[in-house]
Symmetry: C2
Subunit: 610 residues, 2 copies
């Protein structure tokens, strides 16, 4: 039943060799990887206004373009920086790999931890903002915001479990539709003003205070979220068709140009049209003024919603890949490096979906609340990545190393400043959570690494071990114990199997009172076997403890190095619900017994019809 | 960790022999078993008013005492009937046993299904009503109603997992406190009126329609909930100290007298004081008028709350016991008949708690909504129980059988009429759910019974089976397969164990490509063993399917009746979190393999340090 459901939801298994066909070129690579950065147009500008409007009122509009300009400058520097990264790291891994290679393991793991948090927030913020667009246009849906968000995360999860290529086809076209939508908004928006349209005066409840530096910096911190997603391209270089470096660099450049036009343009429009976001989303409010409640209004709303869902999808490309890289090096559980039936990293996808869903529920899908946690993770990884590249040039030098080092050094410097600004101005708005969480994650990752290292050492085959084991000539001395709760067909089979694998078989039974003991003994005698039956009393109706006590007692003879095989009969029923009708104590006993190294548990099935 | 938590919550394990000491006499038996019936004073009268007030307005008050009188008459008949039941069924089991003994299995199972539903609703209704008392006095708690209810169910669960006697001590005294509280309310309530107090005119929004028969019957149906819980005493006879029959009969009689006084008295008070329940509970409203917001007001509110929680506790005595009886006969899963560490039927307690919690959440802890589902289950079981007793007298006859048969016959008749009235008048208010659910439950119970019967037959040891098995002389032919994913210390142990239990050992490995196959083969060769290694390719990275294919292929030789032992090495780690760092595929492989009857899975542990 589970298998069928899985097939319907995620499709038939793909072979390993089909992996290569799932890669993409510029046409599909751009919409998939760019959507995170492009879509932030929907919230970055809006959140800057939400910071400033309640404090300084209409004065905010004038400052919007100024701060947006600063952010676009930052984007330019990052784009140049990251093109150099792509060139030198064609196998991807982004900030994690770059920091690890050039600044050491600790810096790498720090970048990894920061990125993990970033990806999760990308999903939470993008989905919440996407649904906010819809509820801004269809206000009756507002009460269902959280539920709609969770459904969206569910769809993303299923879509991504189906594999990469199908994802690009599903999410490819709407990205272009969104770019077209915003381009139309810009063109008609500016044309309308040229045509003599005068926007209504905004009604803003504000404190009417003067503009302060700290306020501008807080707005800047919110606006920095516009740059999240730029690094996705450098992480995903191996997902491109060959020549992947060339494709990736082109996609990154295109991406930056698109952000420049859309983010810059909408900031200016918001300024001109004097929109007041809060209950409703900024882009929807601008579209309402430019187009009224016509086709274009709904077209913009819906494509914005879709691009934001796609942005969340970007994280579904990046997060599992990052974890797979880190898992191969032992910093996160190994299961995260295994591809599922459909060649996607299923465990990473499931992890991302569930944590993002929890965040959405905790923060009630409120973009302004979530934005406080966002950006800091990304900017920490930006900084480490740029610093890593900077250090690389200092060491390897090579052709034109000075300008290259200058670009990456500048990148590292400006992003460091941004990290400090965000940490300081957003501390109380949620940044503290991330600041606390990152060191904890780093600690855990090193603990996991250490565990795997220890295990590897313990499992290693040494010549001494081989010599002592002497597989070909030496055997274990094997004792068998068959625990019985009643005497039936499966006991007969278990006892017979016992005599097959050992000459030393004991049947063992725990009774709560003498009456039931006598009953068992009588039925056992009917079997006519010469295998001894040991009956122990236990008032607590426990099985494992008396068995272990018996094994360790003087009554039972075994030497160090011997193996004791405990045979557990298990009923195998035809239908899943019938399993509910039988004790699952077998599993429990198995786990307790396996804690003792000299015990092997042999589970002997008995198939039952209805 | 789990073990420690369990100890703190539910206490240390009790021995079987301690079971007897947990029984109770009249002093503790009365409050524990009576609370369900007594506490219904808090909602039965109130719900009658809620049915009538909106339709007929103040006219309702006059009819309240009339309907209450009818219900008290019903109570008298039931009490006489049930005293006869207790006498003839000292081992308890109530309606289920009585119906089964005298009317056949189907009637018994029907009564059992009806009682199951009744017990669950007892918890849901009593807890919801209890919390309603509190939120009526402390109105600021109203928004947290559902959460408080769930916490209460949780406390009841933990309390009952700790065992019977401690439950009686915790819940004993407050029951008397409640009786005292209501007695005070009656005395001061009547005294205040005698003293000349004139209650304010009620402000009722009503349709002002005339009183119709159907309306009176609907009110009667709601009022019938006052009688739920009367049967608890006859179910729990074996929980009394010896002489248990005498104690039980006395408790039942005392119980009826107390209901008569409290239910009758408060109905009259509600009539005199013209209270309008709905947003706030009836008893709290009466207490407010009689005592104002003084000590007695809060005393009554809180003791009412506590007695209602105790009423829910009654179901915690009855439900698990009923299920244990039914489980022993195979109608419900066997696990429900097993006593936990503290000698309580843990699984029944957990089941009751979870279903009641779900109901409370679904119905938002609204007493009026839940009451629509209540009563019908109880009255079906009343009817079957009385009818069973009636039939008993017709068959066994004996001393004074005619008046005895008359009493039980009358009981059966009036309860049948009540069932029809409730089913008809409350159909749309939720009774339909129960009417649909009971046949489904009955069907399931018979299905479970049939499954256990089939299993019993299949497990039976026949002389033919013994002869064919010939445990002492014949052995299985045992083949061993050791699946490897890599070559390490645990592989060495598994291979050595394989040669210990069979002369026919094969190592088996699934590779995704030739490169990894060559690597494994090379490492395997270093072991220097003569056990053959079979490598199969599987592009889907699966293990079980290629292994089963290999076993069934011509390449692998085995005969029908042979056993194939598959040895699975398993890492056993020290700390629980480390388990998350290792594949749990072993479990999965084990389950798939065990579906094949010729395969035994031997799990060989390897203990790892950190």
């Amino acid at each position: 039943m589970y298998d069928n459901l899985k097939r319907v939801l995620i499709g038939k298994p793909l072979k390993n060799e089909e992996s290569d066909g799932q890669k993409y070129g510029i046409l599909w690579g751009l919409p998939i990887l760019a959507s995170d950065a492009i879509s932030s147009v929907a919230y970055a500008g809006q959140e800057m206004l939400i910071v400033m409007l309640p404090v300084v009122g209409a004065l905010a509009y004038g400052k919007l373009s100024l701060i947006s300009g600063a952010i676009i400058l930052l984007l330019m520097i990052l784009t140049l920086s990251y093109r150099q990264t792509i060139e030198h790291y064609p196998n991807g891994g982004g900030a994690y790999i770059v920091a690890k290679d050039n600044l050491g393991t600790k810096a790498g793991v720090t970048a990894g931890a920061a990125l993990c948090i970033d990806y999760i927030l990308t999903v939470a913020v993008s989905v919440s903002s996407g649904v906010e667009q819809i509820t801004s246009a269809f206000i009756s849906l507002k009460p269902y915001t959280v539920i709609i968000c969770i459904v969206m995360v569910g769809l993303l999860m299923v879509g991504n479990l189906r594999g990469i290529r199908e994802a690009s086809k599903i999410f490819g076209l709407p990205a272009y539709a969104f770019m077209l939508a915003l381009l139309m908004l810009l063109i008609f928006g500016f044309a309308k003003i040229k045509g003599g349209y005068i926007p209504p005066e905004p009604t803003i409840k504000s404190l009417g205070e003067p503009i302060t530096l700290i306020l501008l910096l807080r707005a800047f911190s919110s606006g920095c979220t516009a740059l999240t997603g730029v690094e996705a391209v450098s992480n995903a270089v191996p997902n491109f068709k060959t020549p992947s470096v060339k494709y990736a660099k082109t996609v990154l450049l295109l991406l930056s140009l698109i952000i420049l036009v859309l983010f810059g343009g909408t900031s200016i429009l918001a300024n001109i049209y004097h929109v007041v976001p809060g209950d409703r989303a900024m882009l929807v409010l601008i579209a309402e003024q430019v187009f009224g409640h016509g086709f274009m209004y709904y077209y913009i709303t819906i494509t914005t919603f879709v691009i934001l869902i796609m942005a969340a999808n970007t994280a579904y490309s990046g997060f599992p890949l990052l974890l797979a890289v880190m898992a191969k090096e032992g910093f996160v559980p190994r299961q995260l490096s295994m591809k599922g039936d459909r060649l996607s990293y299923s465990n990473g996808i499931l992890l991302l979906s569930s944590v993002a869903a929890v965040l959405i529920i905790l923060f009630k899908a409120d973009v302004t609340s979530l934005i406080g946690l966002y950006a800091i993770g990304v900017f920490i990884s930006f900084t480490l990545s740029q610093a890593g590249m900077f250090r690389k040039w200092l060491i390897i030098k090579g052709k034109n190393w000075v300008p290259k080092a200058f670009i990456n050094g500048l990148g590292a410097l400006v992003t460091t400043v941004a990290v400090l600004i965000i940490a300081f101005t957003k501390f109380h708005q949620g940044a503290w959570i991330v600041i606390v969480l990152i060191p904890i994650l780093i600690l855990l990752m090193f603990k996991v690494k250490k565990h795997y290292e220890n295990i590897r050492k313990q499992l290693k085959i040494t010549p001494k071990l081989l010599e002592r084991a002497d597989i070909n000539n030496k055997k274990y001395t094997n004792h068998v114990i068959v625990p019985l709760s009643s005497v039936n067909k499966s006991s007969v089979r278990a006892l017979k199997y016992g005599t097959t694998i050992s000459d030393n078989v004991t049947a063992f039974c725990v009774a709560t009172d003498e009456e039931s003991a006598a009953k068992i003994q009588e039925k056992y005698n009917e079997l006519g076997t010469d295998i001894p039956l040991i009956i122990k009393y236990n008032p607590y109706r426990k099985v494992v403890e008396p068995l272990l006590d018996f094994i360790e007692s003087a009554e039972y003879e075994y030497k160090k190095g011997d193996i004791i095989t405990v045979i557990l009969p298990q009923f195998v029923v035809k239908r899943w619900w019938q399993r509910l009708l039988h004790n699952q104590t077998g599993r429990f006993i198995e786990r307790k017994l396996l804690k003792h190294k000299h015990i092997v548990v042999a589970v002997m099935p008995l198939q039952l019809n209805d």
